[in-house]
Amino acid sequence: MGDVIIQVEELSKAFQLGTIGTGSLSQDINRWWATSVLKKEDPFYSPHSAGKTGSSKNHKTFWALQDLTFDIKQGEVWGIIGNNGAGKSTLLKIISRIVKPTKGVVRGNGKISSLLEVGTGFNQELSGRENIFLSGYILGMTKREIKAKFDEIVDFSGIEKFLDTPVKRYSSGMYVRLAFAVAAHLEPDILIIDEVLAVGDAEFQKKCLGKVKDVSQSEGRTILFVSHSMQAVSNLCDHALWLQKGRLMETGPASTVINNYIKGIRKFQLHHTWDNMVEAPGNEIIRFKSVRLIPQFNDLDSPLDIRVPLTVKFQFWNLGGEQNLSVGLHLFSYGGDCIFDIPSPSVPCQKGLVEGECTIPGNFLNDGSYYMSLIVVKDTSVNLFYYEECLSFEIDDYRGDIKWFGKWMGAVRPTFPFHIGQKELVTQA
């Protein structure tokens, strides 16, 4: 481990919501004329509210990142963790030079390659061979590098037979394999990866993770890795960086940061209620009024453990008029793996309040932390609103008279009928 290879100093990024341009030249000229020449108020963001609320309220500025400062040393593998919208991708994009920061500096040494998606620069019409070159160049490889690695890339992807077939005729698995194979043979000093490993089949994912691990261990390369999967991060990374709402919460050894992150987001939300429709989560068609998780205790003193059935009750306003609606319930473990996805039947709904409930039986989920998302679907096919992470909760362990205290494996712990008994006795000779 050696020198600092990336230095980030007071990095901030603001997005102007809707104020960068109105999207039409005549309006922009109009606006420029009004604000810059006549010194009047912006005609397109008229402050209908109290006149002195200041520009910060009218010009909605969204700070995707605020004042990040950290150093990354050569050869370190960093995991970047945080909730959705914490600014992880923005950070990667700034370091990759795709997006400009609003304030602050990133300095560094060496060549950077970033894999923010699988198959950047691939063209559907071209053959696999052409695409290896095209994508390689776009990712910053030189002609010599690609030629030297060509056979290795083809080997890794396992598509020799289809090298001269247009990639549009590939199966999606083949496509992903080829795309990753090109990316995996990049030789930058700093490699930036954004959850690209979340595609492909399990076996291929394993291969990819293995490749990343190889690269980081044997070749001393610096890697920045964003993932929702805590397992992948703790597996691959020795350092972690935790972002929350654009702010740096913690940096340090991966295991410590991951632990604190999981503890930190365990502010369990068992119910949400909104009386004011404007503030409620949703859009112009669907707005949620309430979501509640009600444990069906036998007596009130008992803990929320694996035996307790859980009822989810929710209400939402249907603002879209008469339509067939169904609701899907997605349950996730804190690692981000989906445990199940159950849809409700689709029923005709009128404009107004709609309610529903679903019960997860007791003795089904394993102990651990979970979060849940609700999706409202029209005609069982059109997604109207996805309410992500609306509830989160923790289920305690209960083992009865089992005298073993190790971590119980598995995502679920159902009690299926299970029988063992004495079949016959060994008779003493």
Partner: protein, 285 residues
């Protein structure tokens, strides 16, 4: 390395500001990307087509036929001392080069937003490869023009000029391409910001054609309004192109100097503008 790098000695730095000026070393590093994109354009245009590259020749030929019918036979626009076929075809070929370069670069940010959002490379590579593609297409169409000229020389006793002006041809062609590139670069930024400008681009370039001596020689324009046509920097390039190639065309050193100066100035400004705006546009597109 034994000593740690001093604080101010970094290979690269990312800040809020974009520096004016260009990084030629980086552009050179990505040269293979540019050539690969030219290759891609070519493969894409002619894979799975019946006539393939013949389209490249068919389009100017059909245009030529229309121009001869409408402007020469019907309206009777003079083509000077030149045979109409050579006059129009030379105009069409060089105009196509300008037009396609301009249109091809005008929508770069809109069309490549997806890639620009996912990977970094010098954005100028895309317009440069576009210019390369168009040069290639021009070369093919020019070859057809040359064949047509050869036909006239052999069968119609037409004599071609060959003098010092012939050597200006490559420069004229390059300047026309660079003017198209420069205008395209500026409009690529504008169309990314303002969706309504798309109409202006396609409509404006059509109007521009009438202010460029494609269909008529500059001599044919009445003296009083000739300045309007000569205000267009392309005019003297087109005239010089015909003069050098076919021996007919009117241009003066002054107007040529004006055209060269203006198009190089335009090119310089557009490159800086594109570079400077390019980083910010990612937030918008």
């Amino acid at each position: 390395m034994i000593n740690s790098t001093p604080k101010n000695d970094w290979e690269w730095e990312i800040t809020a500001k974009t520096k004016w000026g260009m990084d030629f070393k980086e552009l050179w590093y990505y040269r293979h990307l540019a050539s690969s994109l030219v290759r891609k354009d070519f493969l894409l245009n002619y894979q799975q087509t019946i006539l393939g590259p013949i389209w490249l020749l068919l389009q100017p030929l059909l245009t030529l036929l229309t121009y001869i019918l409408v402007f020469n036979k019907l309206i009777g626009v003079s083509t000077g001392a030149l045979p109409p076929v050579l006059f129009y075809l030379s105009g069409i070929v060089i105009w196509n080069f300008f037009h396609d370069t301009f249109i091809g670069t005008s929508f770069i940010f809109r069309e490549n937003a997806q890639i620009f959002n996912k990977v970094y490379f010098p954005r100028l590579i895309i317009p440069f490869s576009q210019l390369g593609t168009q040069m290639f297409r021009f070369a093919i169409q020019f070859a057809m023009l040359a064949a047509m000229m050869a036909y006239y020389v052999i069968f119609k006793d037409y004599t071609l000029p060959f003098n010092y002006l012939t050597f200006t041809l490559p420069f004229v062609i390059l300047l026309v391409g660079l003017t198209g590139l420069a205008m395209g670069l500026i409009f690529s930024v504008i169309t990314a910001k303002y969706r309504d400008m798309v109409h202006l681009v396609s409509f404006g370039v059509r109007l521009l054609m009438f202010f460029t001596p494609v269909l008529y020689p500059v001599d044919y324009v009445p003296e009083k309004v000739r300045w309007i046509v000569q205000f267009n920097p392309l005019t003297s390039f087109f005239e010089l192109f015909r003069l050098a190639l076919l021996g007919e065309g009117t241009t003066t050193a002054w107007s040529l100097g004006y055209s060269v100066g203006l198009s190089l100035l335009l090119l310089g400004c557009s490159l800086l503008f594109f570079n400077k705006q390019g980083d910010k546009l990612i937030d918008v597109v």
